[in-house]
Every structure is written in structure tokens, then in C-alpha cells.
């Protein structure tokens, strides 16, 4: 095993580069606990939900940051609030349903109640009964608010942060990422479905996978076969300056041949394969820019996907060092006509837990988790496209994966990695 130059939690890093990753980063309990402090409760913006999940004043919605349960509310003035979903008295869950509507949040255990801003406004029997019992005179409700988060909305996405130091969400995202989020979330949303995929692997393995443009046309042969996307299309990768966020996009260019592929002789070259009902792939260029695929990630846990007319938001929720939940929300827009709705429903076959071009992503992280058992002293290699984490005008690269590790190490170790 290579010599140690840096250490965080129980993980030893062989260098200050991001080209070799110790596998213990996916298995070490101490590291996982430290991630809660340095990343999830650190200077980051964590995706919480769509603003559309909170349609009116009094709406609340339950989400999660790291393993911490969070409740998001729209208060009576219509502004958004977020706090830990935990009563300030003895710590019971405050909201017991996924979502709902309320003027106050009242805990079932002893009926302490909180307004939608998270402030304590009622303590059952505070003065006791018949002047017996109750809370001490010096008890002050203002000292017992819920644990509040900062919350900001961007293009209908709601983000929360435990940190006072993190800049505004737009500054955090940067203009490149912001503009490509707005591009997709162009108008009022309509939610068309939800589900949750249970991933038997560390959360980072999924986030890397979403950033990994190298695997797209190889692991998912459906892509190549049906010319939905391939590396020899026009396209590229944008990585923000922090490294944490990225966009991968591509445009079909049917003129290009498959020879590059044949010459690679890899599993995915299979052109005689054809669909009996090709309507699955009849898509429209709803953005008018010819971009057929845009995968965008925001550190540490959001994926925004546009694949033809299939649009979805994925939230990555860690549940233990070795398990993760991927919360899918499938969306369209208020102004979709019936044809567009049916188109989105058909194309939804491409994505999600049963998606023709995404089901593999639910398993491949677990393939790594199982493969490193017993030998997590070894290293993973991230060298495709160089050693840096800059934007690149092609997709045969792991630049955005390196970007992830650049951001991750800077937060975990407080260093400035060589990337």
C-alpha cells in the first residue's frame, strides 16, 4: 500500500491529487460520521425538495440531509423555512407524514407546538394545573426553537444549509450551472410521479456514477444501440470552479459513423437491434437547442436529468455508510398537452429503477461495494482525460469525477487538492 500523505477519519490518502482514491472512503464508519459534520452540516447547499411540493401557505414537506430528518414549510407569509424534524422538548419526530398542511406543528408526545417558522409557541401545562407543576419561571420559549436551517429556492428547487458561511445559492452554483438548471426548469412544474430506489452502496458511489460520462455509452448499451447518446456525438462536460457541480450534455449527430465503436469492440455495439414500437423514442426538441441529453449535478446530493423529454430530479440520501436511497421525482410542465404527457410517460421507461438506460446505475455502485470488501486498502484510479478537474469539450473523460473529489477533499481535510 502506498505511503500516507493525508488522513481524514479512518482514510489514508496517498497524495494530494484526485487521481487515486482509497477504497476505504466507501467503507470507513469514522469517515462517514465526519462527512455529516464537514459536508452535510458543513458549508454546502443540500437539495431538499421542489417548491411545487409546497403549493400554499401552511404546506409542509419532509426531507433529509445526510441522515438528519428535515421538514420544509411554507409559512403564512408564503416564504420557505426548514428545520430539523425533531421536537425541541424530548426529541420526537414533529411531522409524522411525508407532507401535509398545518398552521402549527404540534408534537404528539407532549403537545409542544411550533409555528411554521420553527418557533415554540405553546407548551402544554406550562403553568401546570391548578398552579401545581409546569415549567420553571425562568423557562423562556425563545430558547427552545426548532434547530433552524438556512433555506433558499432556485428555479423551483429548494435547498437547505446548516451553515452561516456558505454564500447564496446562486453564488454557490455559479453562472454555468445556474443557467443550465433554469434551461430545464423553464416554466411551472407538474409532478407526474415519484419512487425511491434503494442502493446497497455508499452514497458517493452513486454521485460519482452520475458525474461519470465515461461509462454512459458503455454500461448502458441501450444508449448506443438506439443512438440516444454516444461518445462520438457533439457534447462536453462543464465543471464549476469548486469541482462539486457539473453538467454533461450532448447533441445527436446522426451523420457520424459507428466505426469508432466497432474498433473498440465493446459490449455495446449492437446495431441490428430494433424496436417493435419505436414511438418510445419519438421525442420533440422542447428547448429548441438540439440538446438531447443534459445531466447536471449539484454537490453533495442533487441530480437534474433531461433525456429527450424525460425530465427527473434525483435526490441522493445516505442511510448508512453502505446504503443510500435515491429519491426520484418525475416531472413535466403545467402547459404540457396530452401528447406531451403521453410522450413523457413513454420516455419515462428510459429512466428510474426500471429504466432502459439507468437501471444499471442502481446496481453498479453495489458491485464496487462488494468488490472492495476485505481489501479496502487498495486504490481506485481516475485518470481518463488527465489529472485536472476542468471543463472539457468531450465526454471520454472523468474530469467531473475528479471535480467531486477536489470539492470533497477540500471540505473534509481543509486542503486544496492538486486538481
Amino acid at each position: 500500500m502506498s505511503k500516507i500523505i493525508a488522513k481524514s477519519g479512518g482514510v489514508n490518502w496517498p497524495s494530494n491529487k484526485v487521481t487515486t482514491i482509497p477504497y476505504s472512503v466507501y467503507t470507513d464508519e469514522e469517515q462517514y460520521h465526519l462527512e455529516h459534520e464537514k459536508i452535510f452540516k458543513g458549508p454546502t447547499w443540500n437539495y431538499l425538495c421542489l417548491a411545487a411540493e409546497l403549493p400554499e401557505p401552511g404546506s409542509y414537506f419532509v426531507s433529509q440531509i445526510g441522515e438528519t430528518p428535515i421538514v420544509v414549510t411554507r409559512d403564512l407569509e408564503g416564504s420557505l423555512n426548514a428545520f430539523v424534524n425533531r421536537c425541541a422538548h424530548r426529541g420526537a419526530l414533529l411531522c409524522l407524514k411525508k407532507s401535509g398542511k398545518a398552521e402549527n406543528l404540534t408534537c404528539v408526545y407532549h403537545a409542544w407546538s411550533f409555528d411554521l417558522k420553527g418557533d415554540l409557541n405553546g407548551v402544554a401545562f406550562q403553568r401546570g394545573i391548578k398552579r401545581q407543576g409546569g415549567m420553571p419561571e425562568n423557562f423562556c420559549k425563545d430558547d427552545h426553537s426548532l434547530r433552524k436551517l438556512r433555506v433558499e429556492e432556485f428555479s423551483g428547487l429548494v435547498f437547505g444549509s446548516f451553515s452561516d458561511d456558505v454564500p447564496s445559492i446562486e453564488e454557490y452554483l455559479g453562472t454555468d450551472i445556474s443557467s443550465r438548471i433554469s434551461r430545464v426548469l423553464k416554466s411551472p412544474l407538474r409532478i407526474i410521479g415519484h419512487n425511491t430506489q434503494v442502493l446497497n452502496n455508499n452514497w458517493k458511489l452513486y454521485f460519482e456514477n452520475a458525474k461519470d460520462s465515461y461509462h454512459a455509452s458503455i454500461l448502458h448499451t441501450f444508449f448506443t444501440t438506439f443512438e440516444i447518446n454516444r461518445l462520438n456525438q457533439q457534447g462536453g462536460i462543464i465543471v464549476d470552479s469548486s469541482g462539486g457541480h457539473h453538467v454533461s450534455y450532448s447533441m445527436i449527430d446522426p451523420s457520424l459513423s459507428n466505426d469508432e465503436y466497432g474498433s473498440q469492440n465493446i459490449r455495446s455495439a449492437n446495431d441490428e437491434y430494433s424496436l417493435e414500437d419505436p414511438s418510445l423514442l419519438e421525442s420533440v426538441d422542447e428547448y429548441g437547442d438540439g440538446v438531447t441529453l443534459q445531466i447536471l449535478t449539484v454537490f453533495p446530493g442533487l441530480v437534474l436529468q433531461q433525456i429527450h423529454n424525460a425530465i427527473a430530479v434525483r435526490q441522493i440520501v445516505p442511510t448508512s455508510v453502505g446504503t443510500t436511497e435515491l429519491v426520484w421525482t418525475y416531472i413535466g410542465f403545467e402547459d404540457d398537452d396530452d401528447e406531451m404527457i403521453e410522450r413523457r410517460l413513454k420516455q419515462a421507461n428510459l429512466v428510474g429503477p426500471a429504466g432502459f438506460i439507468s437501471m444499471e446505475d442502481g446496481a453498479v455502485g453495489n458491485f464496487v461495494q462488494r468488490a472492495i470488501a476485505g481489501t479496502d486498502e487498495d486504490l481506485s484510479v481516475v485518470m481518463m482525460g488527465g489529472e485536472k478537474a476542468e471543463s472539457q469539450p468531450f465526454r471520454a473523460t472523468e474530469t467531473s469525477v475528479r471535480g467531486f473529489w477536489k470539492k470533497y477533499r477540500s471540505l473534509m481535510e481543509g486542503i486544496d487538492p492538486n486538481a
Binding site: 407526474i192 415519484h194 425511491t196 434503494v198 424496436l275 421507461n349 429503477p353 426500471a354 437501471m359
Partner: protein
């Protein structure tokens, strides 16, 4: 309902489970009408009236394409299902069109090639069945899973 129709429906149900559990996947689309509809959803989405399905088809062709993808394109570890169904309940009967709506509770146990086995899904089938010339076919099968969670991936249809 006539005894023989009941038998036709029960056989369709049994053929469906057997086709999937025995990995006789090509048989699966043939149990639907040409314009047969199939959708895998969950009780939450179903109650909210969301139309999305993890698997969504409105033609036998789409079902056949699902089978080809399963066999030619997609990567997943070897695995098998075991369906256990409760009794079939009649919901409505539309004599003139020979269409019957029935439902039945079910569970699916999934076993991986590694031998790891677990209760994968519980839910209810809501079926519109076309009875014609002594043949029963699914005009629509909606698979409503009780949970919105799916472990790892849903490769084989439910």
C-alpha cells in the same frame, strides 16, 4: 360469472406468474391484447392520480421491446422471482364488451444468483381482462406496489 370464465381468468393469472417465474419471458407479452396496457406504480402515486409508471406500456409491442431489452441490452445480475397470489376478486363485469375487472393481492420474492433472497414487493394487481372466443387476455394490468421503494433495480416485470 360463468364457471368457465372463472377458469379462463384463473388460468391467465397462473400463466402470467409462471411465465415470469420460469423466465419464459417471450410468453409474457402474448398474455396481453394488441393494445394491452401495463403499468407498474405504487400506492402513493396511484392514490394521487399520478400517471407515471416505472414500467409503462400501451401496446404489446412495447412489452415485447421490454423483453428484448431485458435479454439483449440491459445488464443485471441473474435473478428470479416467485409470485404468490391471494384470491381473485371480481370488481366489475361488463358483459356486452366481455371485459371483466378483477383484482388480486400478491407478493414477489426475489432470489439473486448469489442465493440472497428477500421479500421484494407486495401489492395488488388491478386487471381489465378481455374474454373472447374462450380466450382471456389482459386489456390492462396495473401493478400497484404497496411501497414506493424498489431495491437496487426492477429488471424483470412484476
Amino acid at each position: 360469472m360463468y364457471e368457465d370464465n372463472i377458469r379462463l381468468i384463473e388460468n391467465l393469472m397462473a400463466d402470467y406468474s409462471a411465465a415470469i417465474d420460469n423466465k419464459d419471458f417471450e410468453r409474457w407479452p402474448e398474455l396481453f391484447t394488441d393494445d394491452g396496457r401495463y403499468r407498474v406504480t405504487n400506492s402513493e402515486d396511484y392514490k394521487l392520480g399520478y400517471l407515471h409508471g416505472s414500467i409503462w406500456a400501451n401496446s404489446r409491442g412495447m412489452l415485447r421491446d421490454r423483453v428484448s431489452a431485458l435479454q439483449e441490452a440491459n445488464i443485471y445480475e441473474e435473478q428470479s422471482y416467485r409470485h404468490i397470489r391471494d384470491a381473485t376478486r371480481l370488481i366489475t363485469e361488463d358483459e356486452p364488451n366481455g371485459v371483466v375487472t378483477v383484482s388480486s393481492s400478491f407478493i414477489v420474492v426475489r432470489t439473486m444468483h448469489t442465493g440472497d433472497m428477500h421479500l421484494f414487493v407486495s401489492g395488488i394487481y388491478i386487471d381489465r381482462i378481455k374474454l373472447h372466443d374462450g380466450i382471456a387476455l389482459f386489456e390492462e394490468r396495473i401493478v400497484v406496489c404497496d411501497s414506493q421503494k424498489i431495491d437496487t433495480l426492477l429488471a424483470i416485470p412484476l
